[in-house]
């Protein structure tokens, strides 16, 4: 099956709404599981990995949640297709590098995605827009309970679910959320926030997870410890921390608008100016500027413009998505030209940001005067 016929369009993806989606772009809970027999994927020889895939894939496909799912062996997906899945946050970069003996099962509405033979035999994830960690956990817990009746898991009374890497041992759970935090970055409060989140045993990472930078002011927050406490405790701790980060971000935005509105207008105005007028622009710069436009939409500087447009452009502008729209294989420099063309075209009906007199009505966040 063609993955592009299956996947929702970037416009549809950007339309998905969830609680607190001004700041929390998406929630995810993933579980790592392995079969009792055989070696972990990183140590297993190819024939064994193929055997595991042949055993696990039909079991996953047969789950009620996976009705009409997209199911494919990784060697049947092209490099561009895999990169698109990474840019949609459906598979890890590590999984994109796999070929024969690895597979992918993605359900119809893209809320469940199971990677087979990534680092573990099974990496199953539930994905939700906005802040919905509990819902994601409940969903993946149910899927896992169905699957455990079809596949014999490696489980120890003492150590729980056995995983290839000891860092995932026990519950095998990774609870994470993707946050858009331009206020904290502009207010230069992001580093102390990251440090205090780290102190609670949580990791803060960039846009594409482990070892990546925070492009577009997007940060991933997730648990690190998986052994010695139960899933609910982990989910609730993260939920609590996220609520606090949301509050800090809202406060940072409000304070910026009260104390330094010109700084905010300047950043957003320049971002608009470049995106709407550039003739060559890299994906990194685009994402950083789109982040500022997203902030502008949030605080009411772009009346009539939907946040979904920014989110759609955020997806479309990434290298594989951009390449996909073109027939010829382009160099990065050529892509920068095409990207700029697309931005100018898509933003031609968006007027420049309205900077109001601060202190007056409608400074966006100044609730006392509204």
């Amino acid at each position: 099956m063609d993955i592009h016929k299956f996947l929702s369009t970037p416009a549809e993806t950007a339309q998905r709404r969830g609680p607190h989606d001004r700041i929390v772009m998406s929630s995810r809970v993933r579980l790592a599981r392995n079969l009792k027999e055989g070696a972990f994927p990183g140590w297993a020889k190819k024939p064994e990995r193929v055997r595991v895939l042949e055993l696990v894939r039909p079991a996953v496909e047969s789950l009620p949640e996976m009705k009409d799912a997209f199911s494919e062996a990784m060697d049947n997906l092209g490099a561009l297709d895999k990169q698109i899945l990474v840019e949609r946050h459906l598979i890890s970069r590590e999984h994109a590098a796999k070929s024969s003996g690895s597979g992918l099962v993605l359900n119809r509405d893209e809320t469940f995605c199971v990677m087979i033979n990534e680092e573990d035999h099974l990496r199953m994830q539930a994905l939700r827009p906005g802040l919905q960690l509990r819902q994601a956990w409940t969903a993946i817990d149910r899927l896992d309970s169905e699957l455990e009746q079809r596949l014999p898991y490696a489980f120890s009374n003492e150590l729980g679910y056995l995983t290839a890497c000891p860092t995932n041992l026990g519950t095998g759970i990774r609870v994470s959320a993707m946050l858009h935090l331009p206020g904290l970055v502009l207010a230069e409060q992001i580093n102390p926030i990251i440090q205090s989140v780290n102190k609670l045993g949580l990791a803060v990472r960039g846009l594409y997870g482990e070892g990546t930078e925070a492009l577009g002011n997007v940060f991933q927050v997730s648990n690190q410890m998986t052994l010695g406490e139960n899933e609910i405790t982990i989910v609730e701790r993260l939920d609590k921390v996220l609520s606090q980060i949301i509050e800090h971000e809202e406060n940072a935005r409000q304070t910026l608008m009260e104390k330094k509105p010109k700084v905010v207008y300047n950043h957003i105005g320049r971002a608009y100016g470049i995106l709407a007028n550039a003739h060559s622009i890299s994906s990194k710069e685009t994402m950083n500027l789109l982040s500022l436009m997203r902030l502008g939409v949030d605080i009411g500087l772009f009346p009539g413009m939907e946040r979904a447009l920014v989110d759609e452009l955020f997806i479309l502008t990434q290298p594989a998505h951009l390449q996909r729209q073109l027939s010829d294989k382009l160099s990065p420099e050529e892509r920068d030209l095409i990207r700029a063309d697309m931005m100018r075209e898509r933003l031609k009906n968006t007027g420049r940001p309205i900077a109001k007199h601060y202190g007056g009505p409608g400074t966006g966040l100044d609730k006392s005067t509204n």
Partner: protein
């Protein structure tokens, strides 16, 4: 195995730590451990061991054991673990249990699983937990010379099952 410092007495204190990207191990006898102040492994860094003990080079785990441990099921070795940070198969958790336990302590909240259990295993897990608890109580009852209670505990243990982990109480 001899103590890495005095090289005389048998080593009874074993420290394993990930330093940078390497897993390192230090084996000490009781006395050397005491004199060097290694009584709380969590506050002790093997990265400082070279300086502290004047060891030529910190012993990496593959070198510290004369014969290398190998997983009987998948052939994975400690060197492989050091290289990749990942294990070979579920059985490796038993094979490398000694080295792993201190590693898990530094990595996680606890060392015993406290989360979900597959439904099919739930009963047997509860039973083995219950057996362990009863055995503890039994040992205490015997210590306290409370033989009446000990007898009833023993009966209870017998009822649960003929075999349980460590059920060698007569």
């Amino acid at each position: 195995m001899l103590c890495s410092v005095c090289k005389e007495k048998p080593a009874t204190v074993h420290l394993t730590q990930i330093v940078g990207e390497k897993m390192q191990k230090l084996d000490l006898c009781e006395e050397c451990a005491k004199t060097k102040g290694v009584n709380d492994p969590t506050s002790f860094s093997l990265a400082d061991a070279d300086v502290l003990f004047g060891l030529g080079a910190s012993q990496e785990i593959d070198q510290s054991t004369g014969t290398e441990t190998k997983c009987p099921r998948c052939g994975f070795t400690q060197v492989d673990f050091k290289k990749s940070g990942r294990l070979g198969c579920p059985e490796c958790y038993k094979t490398f249990a000694d080295g792993l336990s201190s590693l898990l302590k530094t990595m996680h909240k606890g060392t015993r699983h406290a989360g979900k259990v597959p439904e099919a295993l739930r009963e047997s897990r509860e039973q083995s937990d219950r057996l362990k608890l009863l055995q503890k109580k039994l040992a205490k009852a015997i210590d306290d010379e409370n033989f009446e209670q000990a007898a009833s505990l023993r009966d209870e243990i017998k009822q649960i099952g003929p075999r349980g982990p460590g059920l060698n109480v007569t």
